[in-house]
Symmetry: C2
């Protein structure tokens, strides 16, 4: 059974320290969830994930539905057992990926019809009920209501229409859900219209979910706009339930989100950047392919305690990237995810010790200086 | 300083149990050396290599010379420090790769001129002296004399000419070597002519090396032909020095080689096959992409104790391969190398306990049965 406990509210901000319990264990919040799209966080084994301190990962319903199929994963006892990760997993609803197919999909009140890009163009219809059924088969600890990720930009009329449909779908998801062990989160939409965001949040809370997510953000809007949408949604949300900012973001975004009361984040940024040779550090980003690192004996970040930084030089990592060696991708991913998870450990410590605002100020200052 | 100790000679075969000491530690023989071409055993970290019980790896002079360059690796204190592997390394001489360039290289008495395929076609001349200089900069524990890998098939005249040149080059390598910590091995050539093999071995022993390798085998000849060439070379070699069969081979080849007195092997077979989804097991090969494994909950080899077999099903590995996930390559490599290293552990145990011939018989029988 899912249970969220609020441990501490920050006095000077909306930041919160919390913890949630799932059938696969506890998770401390605020938390960053590494993305494991195809039942693997790209390049990492479950052992790697544990060693960097991951407590929960996200996996993508859309991808697992198409390959290897939710029925197969159900036979294995769920995605956790299938991939050998015996800790909590959250699955998204598949909505985001289905809607990104653009020409290949059609929205009706019933659901979304789309043509699969990987199994020879087979047609599939995902309804809210089917999205729940698939996610129950996948067996994640937290599942998401099937929503439309409102595109950006969108007219007020379209945002309203999309939000209303998402709301009707959310109710159908709630009604369809059978598994009592899984938590179901509703997703707030509303485009970049603060009053629509507020309305969406209030209406979802009326339906009643185990947690609330903010969708349709970090889709091209400015940072102030994103913060405004978070702020417009927050007052409607119950303080004793978790809030999840979907698909966000940079290290700065995480700290800003926590400041506004967000408990959960996920993003491909650390993993995708790692595979491109761009590493996050306490002093800004390091593009390891740059010639300046050719003979550099220092680790990526001398202040970092990850496996990669404890054992390898920038010169060696640069060599691996230049030589097209797969080990480069894993060592980079270990570093970038460690950076994100370590940031969240520090965020939690600062809230616990009543110094989150000071932590945030120092963190942002250091990074501005290094980017200048 | 390099030191080889013979621990036990098998009574019923030419198999030997031994041990050699290098500046980076001890190695138990017979040994299989995983191939780390570009200063990384593809997909594995040094930690992975230790966990599967690797005692020594091979790295390729040709590749490291071109990228990142031996001077750079020298600045880092050698290939071991560069790649974070604090155990023994053997480097080949680069000859094998240079000679495979075919149209791009020219052989003279001085050495080989070739055009690099990776740095915009720059011309390089590798002489025996330069091959030693490069390998001294790379700092491996065992280095190899610069040889011509005689092509197959070759006329007797060409094999003789090539062998004689290799012999003159071997003497120049011996004379050029400065580093007293590194061991230098000579390489026996002679094509598929037993008397030339014998002559090559005797002449190299006259020059005097720290060990002797058999080159130019597993290049397209039949198995009986390969065994005949090994048998023709062996009598000339001192019993108290190690013998290394280069670039060989299948699990069966290893056992046959040990039976004939070989102490060291290297081959890309386990690592390359792993990346193609072909796994070695006690009951033959498993091609994991086959549809029959789609819902298979068993590990690759139920009798295997590697990380992959302890944690993942065939169905999950098949999914990772089908989805193009990098983790598949590493998990497969861990399994295949574990299989090879475990085979050598069992070979050593069987020699130690005086039951090598029985071990060999059972091993080959099991595999024949499974391949039938």
């Amino acid at each position: 059974m899912f249970k969220f406990s609020l441990i501490k509210n920050d006095a000077a901000s909306s930041a919160r320290l919390g913890k949630f319990t799932t059938p696969h264990g506890e998770v401390n919040t605020p938390v960053f969830m590494p993305v494991g799209t195809q039942a693997t966080v790209k390049t990492l084994s479950p052992e790697d994930l544990e060693s960097i301190g991951a407590e929960i990962i996200l996996s993508n319903t859309y991808h697992l539905f198409l390959r290897p199929g939710h029925e197969l994963i159900k036979e294995f006892g769920g995605v956790q057992k299938f991939m050998g990760w015996n800790r909590p997993v959250l699955t998204d609803s598949g909505g985001f990926q289905v809607f990104s197919l653009k020409e290949l999909r059609k929205i009706t009140e019933e659901g979304v019809t789309f043509q699969s890009p990987i199994d020879g163009g087979a047609k599939h219809l995902i309804t809210p009920e089917y999205a729940v059924e698939i996610q129950e088969a996948l067996g994640a600890d937290i599942i998401m209501a099937f929503d439309e990720c409102t595109p950006y930009p969108a007219t007020r009329d379209y945002a309203q229409e999309s939000l209303d449909r998402t709301l009707r779908w959310a109710k159908r998801c709630r009604a369809a859900k059978k598994d009592r062990g899984q938590a179901l989160f509703g997703i707030i939409q509303g485009g970049m219209y603060p009053d629509l965001r507020k309305h969406s949040a209030e209406a979802l809370v009326d339906v009643g979910f185990d947690g609330y997510a903010l969708g349709g953000l970090s889709v091209g809007e400015t940072k102030p706009m994103m913060y405004e949408m978070i702020e417009a949604s927050m007052p409607a949300l119950p303080r004793d339930q978790p809030r999840y900012l979907m698909g966000v973001g940079t290290p700065e975004d995480l700290v800003e989100g926590v400041d506004r009361g967000i408990d959960m984040f996920d993003c491909v940024m650390p993993t995708r950047n790692a595979r491109n040779g761009t590493f996050f550090t306490s002093f800004g980003r390091v593009a390891i392919r740059n010639a300046q690192y050719e003979r550099d004996k220092a680790p990526i970040d001398p202040g970092c305690n990850c496996y990669t930084c404890r054992n390898f030089s920038r010169a060696y990592l640069r060599h691996l990237f230049n030589a097209g060696e797969v080990l480069a991708l894993r060592l980079g991913t270990i570093h970038n995810l460690f950076f994100y998870l370590d940031l969240m450990r520090n965020v939690r410590a600062s809230i616990g010790e009543g110094r989150f605002k000071a932590f945030k100020k120092e963190f942002l200052m250091k990074r501005e200086k290094s980017d200048a």
